[in-house]
């Protein structure tokens, strides 16, 4: 297990380095962001002065060189917009997004595993059809719309939840509810199919022949064998949230990394873009490693191979 983690970490770090380099060059190929930061009346001299100040008039290789030197000292450069160290800004924003993901995903898994498992037990039955309908609706509704409607219904009309912001646990209800919808919708379907396959297997038949009760058949025998595809898809969804639940962050005013990244891209704030991508990529790689470990945990055949 140790060597496995080491190997995967090594691969991830290589990918990470490659990613940072690619992003560095791609971002800067859009040209100098001076006009985004200077007033429209700015003279050419002012523009030149700005470019000189930030090194945008140097050849890309030179800029890359100073970036790399900075990285080795832990300095990812300063935000053009905020004049604060980019890495600080990213590390301040990331925990919020991470917290959103950390609350959302367990809920998603719980809902989808239980619902999908029960739906698969009587395929075509009432519960199954209802679950399919609701999950498809959940997977198809646009986040944006749900968020706003949620605010209008629960905050304005019913006045039982705050509109936005962070603070108390009530502030998290709507954002998490919005974030849960699509992943749960998708995963219910995945779980259901996977569970149906497991329930039609020979070992389930053999368990019935042993006199195992229905609930144990579902949750003890079939469940663990159905988890692998669910883990795969769930990791995808988790990576999506970690990359920035942008809509939720924007609508509800959560200062997370998604919004930070979008704003930085629009304002060509290179240092922040780079730092943000680095941090989120790291998180995604970590998720992948966790997924691989959980595969081994769930299926002993993978453990022993």
């Amino acid at each position: 297990m140790g060597s496995f983690i080491f190997k995967r970490s090594f691969q991830s770090i290589l990918s990470l380095i490659f990613l940072v380099i690619v992003v560095f060059f791609l971002a800067r190929m859009t040209g100098s962001p001076a006009m985004l930061y200077l007033p429209p009346e700015a003279t050419q001299d002012q523009i030149d002065a700005y470019n000189a100040l930030h090194g945008f008039d140097d050849p890309l290789i030179v800029q890359f060189g100073s970036f790399i030197t900075g990285v080795f000292q832990g300095d990812f450069g300063n935000s053009l917009q905020y004049s604060r160290p980019a890495l600080d800004m990213v590390l301040a924003a990331f925990p919020t997004t991470l917290a959103l993901a950390a609350v959302t995903m367990p809920l998603v898994l719980l809902i989808s595993i239980v619902t999908g498992a029960l739906a698969a037990y009587h395929p075509g039955g009432v519960f199954d059809r209802l679950a399919s309908l609701i999950s498809l609706i959940g997977a198809s509704m646009p986040n944006f719309w749900v968020a706003i409607v949620g605010v209008l219904v629960f905050a304005v009309t019913l006045n039982v939840l705050p509109t936005s912001g962070t603070g108390t646990w009530q502030h998290w209800v709507l954002p998490v509810a919005v974030l849960v919808l699509r992943p749960a919708g998708v995963l219910v379907q995945v779980m259901r199919t996977s569970m149906m396959t497991a329930l039609s297997s020979v070992y389930v038949k053999a368990a019935k022949a042993k006199g195992v009760k229905a609930r144990a058949i579902i949750f003890v025998h079939a469940l663990r064998n159905s988890l692998l595809p669910v883990i795969t898809v769930a990791s995808d969804q988790a990576a999506g949230i970690v990359n920035g639940a942008v809509i939720v962050e924007t609508v509800f005013g959560f200062p997370g990394i998604g919004k930070l990244m979008i704003d930085s891209v629009l304002m060509r704030d290179f240092a922040v873009i780079q730092a943000a991508i680095l941090v989120t990529a790291l998180a995604v790689f970590l998720i992948n490693i966790i997924v691989d470990i959980s595969y081994a945990f769930v299926d002993p055949r993978i453990r022993h191979s």
Partner: protein, 535 residues
């Protein structure tokens, strides 16, 4: 009367209409006796037994009539909970493929104990009993091995584990659905012996479902023969085997291989020379990564010669290396050491052009026709594909006619050419595979378990076809199989492999009538190769 099935009918709705899986079937079994239900695939032999265990989902299945009387009570009238209590405790079932029937993610000890736990035995008591049971069924080091997972055992061991689970609560009746079909021949024998022992000890009744007549002969007291959902014959196994009344039973008995005469065919010049060939997997690369695994010698210093016109049977059990050898002869794998020569020319180290030409002369038929035929292609495309790869063999304008000819040769019809593989039965698909193998007019065909997945009667037909082709075209075969009876019918010379090595070789008559090596003897005994029948 321990269990009595009376006038049972079971139907399944399907797209093609109502399938009458089991039609007005009656059989019974007493304590201490073994009933065999004999039939081929599609006969319904498993269905009635599944109904006993409440494994048939109704809906969608329908049981329009019948009773299943267990100790006098009709199970079909009982509620679900009653039936659940019976399963595993009073009536147990073991299944054909123990790898599929054991849950891969739980340790075997846990699974055996589960049978006891669900029927109210305390976990620690169950735990102790597990160790007893594992020892009873012949698994060594039971305390250690009960924590292992199914994939860490061999096929035979897994079936023993299933048996342990099934007998944990000393059931009155054991239903065994094809318990040995997935196992090697020698292992089969031992598992059947174990079942008989347990039956003798506990006075258990046993229902054995099988397609293999040798199994019936070996262990059954009584037998019912099923065809297309109905029982066509029943009686004691001695009676039925010696004096079959029904046509179908007679046909089944006739189709049993290993009762025909030996094949003697004049052999020509050497076609295939195998010199000191070994195939080692793992070795250095593996050792670097894991530092623990030994390299696997799949084929170990094998040498033999095969002449033109010969049919070389290669027999062995799983792990003997016979399939690996077949792959190397086909050029799909390179030997780690040693040389294989085809028609005097070494196979490794050929240029691409030479290898390309050689491939035309050596063709193949694999075991599973479902896997070896591309489901998206039509039969026409499948059989014509070799000509697409070797365009100078046959001009495109003649493909259609030639495919039609080949189809007829293998016993199919020309208008089958436009269908897809899934529209055919297993036997027919194998014929299609053979037609494909013939397309390039090869000199040598390598058959790797080509008929093992087929029903007995179908097997016989396909072997006949191969024999005809051998006669008409002077084909040579390398026929890899685990079924010695089959090989006896068809081969002219035999190689017996064990653990990657050849333990015995020679003309088929010599090997079968006068086996030298102990392993060969054990193999022949275990397969119950029936000696030539008098009249």
């Amino acid at each position: 009367m321990l269990l009595s099935v009376r006038n049972l009918s079971i139907q399944f709705p399907s797209r093609a209409g109502l399938v009458r899986a089991v039609e007005d079937v009656s059989w019974d079994v007493n304590a201490g006796e073994t009933l065999a239900i004999l039939g081929e695939s599609g006969s319904g032999k498993s269905v009635s037994a599944s109904a006993v265990m409440n494994l048939i989902e109704t809906p969608p299945a329908v049981i329009p009539q019948g009773q299943i009387l267990f100790e006098g009570h009709d199970l079909l009238q009982a509620d679900a909970e009653t039936r659940r209590r019976i399963n595993g405790k009073s009536i147990s079932m073991i299944f054909q493929d123990p790898l599929a029937a054991l849950n891969p993610v739980y340790p075997v000890g846990w699974q055996i104990a589960e049978t006891m736990r669900v029927h109210g035995i305390a976990p620690d008591v169950a735990q102790a009993r597990v160790i007893e049971l594992l020892a009873r069924v012949g698994i060594s080091e039971p305390e250690r091995r009960m924590k292992d997972y199914p994939h860490q055992f061999s096929g035979g061991q897994r079936q023993r584990i299933m048996i342990a689970s099934a007998i944990a609560l000393k059931p009155k009746l054991l239903i065994a659905d094809e318990p040995t079909s997935a196992l090697d021949v020698t292992v089969q024998a031992r598992v059947l012996d174990l079942l008989k022992e347990i039956q003798a000890e506990d006075g258990m009744g046993m229902v054995l479902i099988t397609h293999d007549l040798t199994v019936v002969e070996r262990v059954a007291d009584r037998v019912v023969v099923m065809q297309a959902g109905r029982i066509v014959e029943s009686g004691t196994s001695a009676e039925v085997m010696r004096n079959p009344q029904h046509d179908y039973t007679r046909r089944l008995l006739d189709a049993i291989p290993g009762r025909a005469g030996f094949s003697d065919i004049a052999a020509g010049r050497p076609m295939l020379e195998v010199q000191s060939v070994s195939k080692i997997y793992g070795g250095l690369a593996r050792q670097f990564a894991r530092l623990r695994t030994q390299p696997v010698r799949a084929v170990d210093d094998v040498s033999f010669t095969m002449a033109k016109g010969e049919t070389l049977g290669v027999v062995g059990e799983s792990g003997s290396g016979k399939s690996t050898l077949a792959r190397m002869i086909l050029g799909l794998d390179d030997p780690t050491s040693g040389v294989i020569r085809f028609d005097g020319r070494a196979m490794q180290g050929q240029s691409e052009a030479e290898a390309y030409k050689m491939r035309r002369r050596v063709q193949f038929v694999f075991q599973d026709p479902t896997a070896s035929l591309n489901p998206r292609m039509t039969v026409q495309q499948i059989i014509a594909e070799p000509w697409a790869i070797h365009p100078d063999v046959l001009p495109k304008s003649q493909w259609r006619t030639r495919v039609a000819e080949l189809l007829e040769q293998v016993g199919l019809k020309p208008d089958h050419a436009d269908r897809h593989p899934h529209q055919f039965s297993g036997g027919q698909r194998q014929r299609i595979a053979i037609a494909r193998a013939l397309a390039l007019k090869p000199e040598l065909i390598v058959c790797d378990e080509a008929v093992s997945a087929l029903d007995v009667s179908v097997q016989a037909q396909v072997i006949d076809l191969l024999k005809d082709l051998r006669r008409d075209y002077g084909l040579s075969y390398v026929f890899v199989a685990h079924d010695l009876a089959l090989v006896r019918d068809f081969a002219t010379s035999v190689l017996v492999m064990y653990g990657g090595r050849i333990v015995e070789q020679g003309p088929v008559r010599d090997v079968y009538d006068n086996p030298q090596h102990d392993y060969t003897k054990a193999l022949l005994r275990a397969s119950g190769v029936i000696p030539q029948q008098a009249a």
